[in-house]
């Protein structure tokens, strides 16, 4: 069971990393708005080719 003396400090290291990553994400505003970013996929779509989307829908 002495492997635990290595694995547990390792897991603690991972936890600290996860905590740091979460703090970074919060500080970066990732959790400020949980609604609108779901629409980012649409936001990315280029505005130059707008006419496509309705036609695609009627085909489907």
């Amino acid at each position: 069971m002495s492997i635990l003396f290595v694995l547990i400090p390792l897991s603690l290291g991972l936890v600290v990393f996860a905590g740091w990553a979460f703090f970074w994400a919060v500080g970066n505003g990732q959790f400020d708005d949980l609604e609108s970013p779901g629409w980012d996929a649409l936001r990315e779509e280029s505005i130059a080719a707008p006419a496509k989307s309705p036609e695609r829908r009627t085909d489907a």
Partner: protein, 835 residues
């Protein structure tokens, strides 16, 4: 899409034949404004918006667009009040009225990004804010505002954004604390479960490993205590300093005792119990509770914010012959100010020149504009409907009528929490008993068996934490809140549901609640041989060119070209030429004047609004009864309220005649007309003294004080922002039928809450003696505390909506998420309810 409703704004079409061409299809819309917006959205290729939106869109403010209400923001000294600059980049935070769902924010975001000079846009649908940065050498604030307004939203630049930033910082810190507590709890629990299961199965862990577990637990639990637990200790200290006992005090004592003893035992390396698992679990649940409470608090709009939206930022000051746009804050008493037609009057003042028709609906609830002549006073926040007027400033800022209404509102709000203060006092007494009981337990155990004293005391402190009891009510309320959100009722003050269940009187303000707040042609009576439809067409052609708010009643019926040679006579009516014949629309005398006769007062039987006559050079042709039409859902809603033993009243600032008409239509016998905000508040307070529980429903600024004074207040979704700020609930879909549903759900939630309370009281009272006698170790106490809460939650889920109502695309996953989050929320409120 319902064929009888406008494709864009969802209002009834009222016979409009205007269509908008989107994606090669003609969609029926209610007015030219909606058509412009819908086609604009289609033209830039964003018509997907209509597929994804969750509520219908706001009707665009055509008048504001036409007179370019945002021109003043192009001036740097006015824009500077609202924007921040760094180099060439200027940025601003906007509150956007009408941005209700993610689709709206998506649309605004996209359209702003079409502008090449805009460098950064971020929109947030949950707060209704947008943050925009742009290159100030190529664009002005006015351009940004115009772009948003063209989409049918009402942008309002927010100068002082401290509240928003403060809230954001608070939210971020709370999230971080929650993460630390959660991660810490999981880690410590991992070691604790290993120790416990070894203990239960009768095997033993190597002493060295056990020692190691305890030291690692200490390492993990310390940041949880110090960082995540900090607000709990701060709260406890604060309430001790105020010499009161809040929920925080026994919790903090239990935490300090448990943590202190555990540290002592872990470092000393003796075989005594450590309680790091109980400590971290407790901190996590408490932090979760605080987080949910904070989110609810943030969702409420600040009153000052609402006031800012009501008043314009700039005024046109007259300096000799020149007119200069200045910030309202720069105006002094005695300054002459020009207010153009359709503009909001920025200050209280005295009318100097011009016959004015002022829309005072915001202040008085009067649905029709009132006439003002030179020498009379006008109030800030009211709308100048007809032609330019000159006003001499008598009061600015804090002295204005609208500011008085806001302070009245603040006073009423301050008086409200009497009930919750009583609950706090009761909780404080109970918690004091808990602490005394724990001390007694400790003393007795010390006398008989000192080794057990500490564990038993700790168990008492944890078990006695009336968590399940405390969540019994909030859990039921938040489940009911989720349920109501489905039905189109947003609950902004969770306490309100408790009161709503007891409501036996409901008081409506007329304008905008029972009625649609829009003037329409209620009835048309032809007097000559021309048909009613033709008369309506003629009147519409003439009125198309008029800015008078009464004229808008005719606009939906207009299918033809506007009349020629249109002339408006203030206070009388409009004259114009249609098909080479001269007509007049307006008062009797004005119309009769055209044919050279003295006017005779005309009346119609069962007339409910304002009478307008149409005539030509020979005779009077038709009478129009213009009225603020009652909502179609009103009579049925009143009827179903009556079935719930809730009787309705109308309390309005409008005229006796107008109120009576609506009351008769809706089947309400109790109505009171011409009431000022102060009288309304007094009336509601009188009802309360008689022992009634009163719900008030309103939508204007004038309703804000009475909304705050009523037991439960409900505002219409399309009402004034200030009314929202003081309302407990907001009726989003404008469907009055949801009211009776809301009361039903509120009553059911009370039943469930009562069951929850009985069960949890049973748990608390039953486990307390067991803990005191030492039968419950601290970890079991912590587990029991959580399990009793879960039992309460499971009972509560019966309130949650089951069937998905047929709504727009993208709605269902979201509402399901809402349910889950509200279940978590209740769990959290649960443990977190303290002050």
């Amino acid at each position: 899409m319902n064929p009888l409703l406008c494709f864009h704004c969802g209002e009834p079409l009222l016979g409009s034949t205007v269509t908008a061409r989107i994606n090669g299809r003609d969609e029926a819309v209610c007015c030219q404004g909606c058509r412009a917006v819908a086609e604009l959205i289609g033209d830039v290729g964003l018509s997907d918006y209509y597929l994804f939106r969750e509520t219908s869109s706001a009707r665009p403010d055509e008048a504001a667009l036409a007179r370019d209400a945002w021109a003043a923001y192009a001036r740097p000294e006015i824009a500077a009040q609202f924007t921040r600059r760094s180099g060439d980049t200027e940025s601003v935070t906007l509150a956007i009225d009408g941005m209700r769902c993610a689709a709206c924010s998506w649309l605004i975001d996209k359209v702003l990004q079409l502008e090449p000079a805009v460098t950064q846009v971020s929109t947030n649908a949950s707060t209704g804010r947008a943050h925009v940065s742009w290159d100030s050498s190529r664009l002005t604030l006015a351009d940004i505002l115009r772009t948003i307004a063209r989409l049918g939203y009402r942008p309002c630049p927010l100068g002082d954004d401290q509240v928003q930033q403060l809230q954001q910082r608070e939210q971020r810190t709370a999230l971080k604390r929650l993460a630390v507590a959660g991660l810490g709890m999981m880690q410590v629990m991992m070691f604790a479960v290993a120790s416990y299961s070894a203990h239960l199965s009768g095997e033993s862990i190597e002493p060295g490993l056990l020692e190691f577990f305890r030291l690692v637990s200490l390492l993990v639990a310390t940041p949880v205590m110090a960082y995540a637990g900090a607000p709990i200790f701060a709260g406890a200290l604060q309430s001790l300093r105020r010499r009161t006992v809040g929920m925080d005090v026994p919790v903090a004592i239990a935490l300090v005792l448990a943590y202190g003893a555990s540290v002592w035992n872990a470092l000393r390396g003796n075989r005594n119990e450590v309680y790091f698992d109980s400590v971290t679990m407790f901190v996590f649940f408490l932090t979760l509770g605080r987080f949910v409470q904070m989110s609810v608090r943030h969702r409420m709009t600040g009153v000052s914010d609402a006031l800012a939206r009501q008043l314009p930022a700039a005024a046109h000051r007259v300096d000799g012959k020149t007119i200069e746009d200045v910030p309202v804050s720069a105006l002094r008493r005695g300054d002459p100010v020009l207010v153009r037609a359709g503009e909001v009057i920025p200050v209280d003042g005295e009318l100097v020149a011009g016959m004015a028709a002022i829309d005072e609906a915001m202040l008085t609830g009067e649905s029709l504009p009132v006439q003002r002549s030179p020498g009379e006073s006008v109030a800030a926040g009211t709308l100048n409907c007809l032609g330019p007027i000159y006003v001499r400033v008598t009061e600015t800022a804090a002295g204005t009528v609208i500011s008085h209404i806001v302070s009245l509102l603040q006073r009423a709000q301050a008086q409200k929490p009497a009930v919750s203060r009583a609950a706090d006092a009761a909780a404080a007494r109970f918690l004091l008993c808990v602490i005394l009981g724990a001390a007694l337990t400790f003393a007795l155990w010390l006398a008989f068996d000192p080794t057990q004293a500490f564990a038993a005391t700790l168990a008492v402190l944890v078990v006695a934490c009336p968590c399940a009891f405390a969540i019994a009510m909030p859990a039921a309320l938040s489940a009911a809140t989720a349920r109501l959100a489905h039905g189109g009722v947003l609950v902004t003050n969770p306490d309100a549901l408790e009161t709503l269940a007891r409501v036996d009187r409901i008081v409506f303000d007329k304008t905008g609640t029972l009625t649609r707040g829009v003037i329409t042609v209620g009835r048309c009576v032809a007097l000559a041989d021309i048909s009613e439809a033709q008369c309506l067409q003629i009147a519409a052609s003439i009125e198309l060119a008029s800015e008078h708010p009464l004229a808008r009643a005719f606009v939906p019926s207009a299918t033809c070209e506007p009349a020629r040679d249109v002339r408006t006579v203030a206070g009388c009516g409009v004259e114009g030429v249609v098909n080479d014949r001269r007509y007049r629309v307006g008062t009797d005398r004005f119309v009769a004047d055209l044919r050279g006769e003295p006017g005779a007062e005309q009346t119609l039987a069962d007339m409910a609004g304002t009478l307008v006559t149409l005539g030509d050079e020979r005779q009077a042709l038709a009478l129009f009864d213009l009225r603020d039409a009652a909502r179609t859902s009103a009579p049925a809603a009143i009827e179903s309220l009556r079935k719930l033993n809730v009787s309705a009243q109308i309390l309005s600032g409008d005229s006796q005649q107008a109120v009576g008409g609506v009351a008769a239509h809706c089947g309400i016998t109790d109505y009171f007309a011409r009431r000022s905000p102060v009288q309304k508040l007094a009336h509601v307070q009188q009802l309360q003294r008689e022992g009634h529980c009163v719900a008030m429903m309103g939508d204007g600024v004038n309703d804000a004080p009475v909304l705050a004074g009523a037991d439960v207040s409900i505002a219409m979704g399309r009402g004034a922002a200030l009314a929202h700020a003081s309302a407990d609930m907001i009726l989003v879909g404008d469907n009055l039928g949801s009211l009776a549903d809301a009361i039903c759900v509120a009553r059911r939630s009370q039943r469930i809450a009562r069951q929850n309370m009985i069960w949890s009281a049973f748990y608390n009272l039953g486990s307390l003696p067991l803990a005191a006698l030492g039968f419950i170790p601290p970890w079991l106490a912590a587990l029991g505390m959580s399990l009793s809460s879960i039992a309460v939650l499971l009972n509560t889920t019966r309130l949650l909506p089951r069937a998905q109502p047929p709504m727009g695309i993208g709605d269902s996953p979201q509402s399901r998420r809402h349910d889950v989050s509200s279940a978590i929320a209740s769990q959290a409120c649960a443990i977190g309810v303290r002050s």
